[in-house]
């Protein structure tokens, strides 16, 4: 698996080390240099792994810094304010200033906290998000670990992050943190299912769990999988925003309810690590969406001119912008509503989607009709299916909302109904409003 690391360039126009369209040219040149100098095999191996890791870690470090700025500026625009604009040009150094401030702060630890767990949790929360990026193809040959089961690896890593959040909340020994932890677990158990099921449809179309193969499938068929799988995309997007703790599903931290949730006791750089990890996870999920649904490094011939990794990063930020957008717009669900939404809507929809995809793939393979004929048909069918399901859901949900009008009645004068006075004021049955004179 790691052996496939930085495989020899096959389809590139040039493989000169300076060709930045594919950074594996550069690392390959360095490795060749070591081999030519008579370095042992294991050295090449270690250096190759280190180079790839260095690339990913430096990317994630830069992203964690720049994304704080991007998120705050973009949300600032949406909220009709400026956002950070004092430190450095356009406030670009604000994240650096924040980081310095966080490092200077004392790391407080409650006396009753579980010291080991309390310390390990933020680190354990950060690692999976970074590890996840190892299997992402950044270019035609640029993939650190060309894992054959890439998609399952993504699921595994996201489930690890939940364990970290959970023990962080537990180790804080704080009631609010425990609420956050419990919510994380409930959400993890619930949302893992639609996530897996939604990506299953993609895997069935691509015929591989290897992320590079999925990208190649999109490149070969000249389409983005989001067109073939709009429902899966919606389900994955919503579920992953639940996994990421972003509004409308940021229940685990829910500042207005449980005051920060699992990280309520954290301060200083431990909190900074949580904060960075949250951004890293958001980028990781954006990367998955960009790779699986938006074609990764491939973009309609443009990838022959522009380096693939730049295209990936561009797509990552396009997705990330949508995450910021939803965060800046929507209020938060209640926990039972969020779980009900997953169980009662997203999971059945994902299963319907899988059945549909299975039928389509079988039809494709059995008849041997050309992709040029079938794929547009599938795009139409799946799009229509998505629209129908969403409309059906809205129809099902609407009566609950439309029991009363959205806007209040208007009275010209005072109108106080005479009511029989109850013996005592006590809890009354909700919704048991008596009939009143309708004087609208």
């Amino acid at each position: 698996m790691i052996g496939a690391l930085l495989a020899a360039p096959t389809a590139l126009v040039t493989d000169n080390w300076w060709d930045i369209r594919d950074l594996s040219n550069l690392s390959g040149a360095i490795l060749d240099l070591i081999e030519d100098a008579g370095g042992p095999g294991w050295l090449t191996y270690v250096v190759g792994a280190l180079l790839g890791t260095l690339g990913i870690v430096s990317f994630i470090g830069g992203v964690a810094i720049i994304n704080i700025w991007i998120e705050r500026r973009v949300v600032g625009r949406m909220q009709s304010r400026l956002g950070p604009n004092r430190v450095g040009p356009f406030g670009l150094l604000q994240p650096v200033a924040d980081a310095i401030k966080l490092m200077q702060k004392e790391v407080l630890q409650p006396r009753v906290a579980d010291g080991l767990v309390f310390t390990v949790a933020p680190i354990a929360f950060t690692v999976p998000g970074i590890a996840l990026l190892a299997v992402i193809p950044w270019g035609r040959n640029m993939v650190l670990a060309d894992l054959d089961v890439g998609i399952v690896f993504l699921f595994a890593m996201s489930s690890l992050a939940a364990l970290a959040v959970f023990i962080g909340g537990y180790g804080s020994n704080n009631k609010y943190a425990l609420f956050g932890s419990m919510r994380v677990i409930a959400m993890l158990v619930t949302y893992e299912i639609p996530i897996v099921l939604s990506l299953l449809g993609v895997v069935m179309f691509a015929g591989s769990m290897n992320l590079n193969q999925i990208v190649l499938f999109q490149a070969d068929n000249w389409l983005f999988l989001i067109m073939l799988q709009p429902l899966a995309f919606l389900i994955y997007f919503l579920s992953s925003s639940a996994e990421l703790n972003r509004t409308p599903a940021d229940l685990a931290e829910a500042e207005s309810e449980i005051a920060g949730g699992y990280h309520v006791e954290y301060s200083g750089m431990k909190f900074g690590l949580y904060y960075a990890a949250e951004l890293i996870n958001a980028v990781a999920v954006s990367t998955i969406i960009a790779t699986v649904f938006l074609g990764g490094w491939w973009l309609y011939k443009i990838d022959e001119i522009v380096p693939g990794w730049m295209i990936v990063i561009g797509k990552i930020y396009a997705v990330y912008f949508v995450f910021i957008w939803t965060r800046g717009t929507l209020p938060r669900f209640r926990i039972d509503q969020l779980l009900a939404f997953a169980w009662k809507w997203m999971t059945p929809m994902a299963i319907i989607n899988i059945l549909l995809v299975a039928g389509e793939v079988v039809l494709w393979e059995e008849t041997g009709w050309s992709a040029g004929l079938l794929l547009p048909l599938y795009i139409a069918i799946n799009g229509a299916m998505t629209a129908v399901l969403i409309v059906a859901w809205v129809r099902v949900m609407a009566p609950k909302f439309q029991r009363y009008p959205d806007r209040p009645r208007m009275y010209d004068g005072i109108d106080v109904p005479s009511l029989p006075a109850p013996a005592s004021i006590g809890p009354t049955a909700p919704g048991a409003a008596p009939a009143r004179r309708a004087t609208v």
Binding site: P40, Y45, D148, L163, M209
Partner: protein, 171 residues
């Protein structure tokens, strides 16, 4: 026999980590810490699987053991708040130790003494596809039985952990 130096070094590092973490599961005084070390052990074992070129099983190991079973255990510990949180031992500590040592000795003896029919196979290239074919062709019956078992376990767990309604308990 694997003679790729990187993989061998990785194996020994992973093995040392895994064994140390497993020992900590036995030695940790707090049950929650024991669960955390257990999760680390699971991850280490997954690393060993990768060394043995079983990448699908490794990823599934992380997904199910470290992700699900670890969380489940932590959850169970928290759902039993009044119970002892100490990872203490029973009086059978010494016999258990002796027995484990015996079992280990037997395993080592068997491992070293047997003439294994070693093949000179290279690492598996892609296990997921052949694994899927194995599941759906020769092992289809066990596969279906396993899914029935999972469903049964799910229902069983729900029934067991469900609060009995008051009237049922009274009856």
């Amino acid at each position: 026999m694997i003679d790729d130096a990187g993989i061998v070094v990785a194996f020994w590092i992973l093995s040392a980590t895994t064994v140390i973490c497993a020992l900590m599961v036995a030695a940790a005084r707090n049950l929650i810490h024991a669960v955390l070390f257990l999760a680390l052990t699971f991850v280490g074992v997954a690393g060993i699987y990768i060394v043995l070129s079983a990448d699908f099983v490794a990823v599934v190991q992380v997904l199910i053991y470290a992700g699900a079973v670890g969380v489940l255990m932590t959850f169970a510990i928290m759902l039993t708040p009044g119970a002892d949180r100490l990872n203490s031992s029973t009086v059978f500590q010494a016999p258990a130790l002796v027995l484990s040592a015996l079992v280990l000795a037997v395993i080592v003896f068997v491992a070293l003494d047997t003439e294994w029919a070693i093949s000179d196979r290279q690492a598996f290239s892609a296990t997921a596809r052949s694994l899927g074919e194995a599941f759906l062709k020769p092992y289809i019956v066990p596969f279906e039985v396993a899914s029935v078992l999972l469903a049964a376990a799910m229902i069983g767990a729900i029934v067991l952990s469900r609060e009995e309604p008051e009237d049922e308990r009274a009856a």
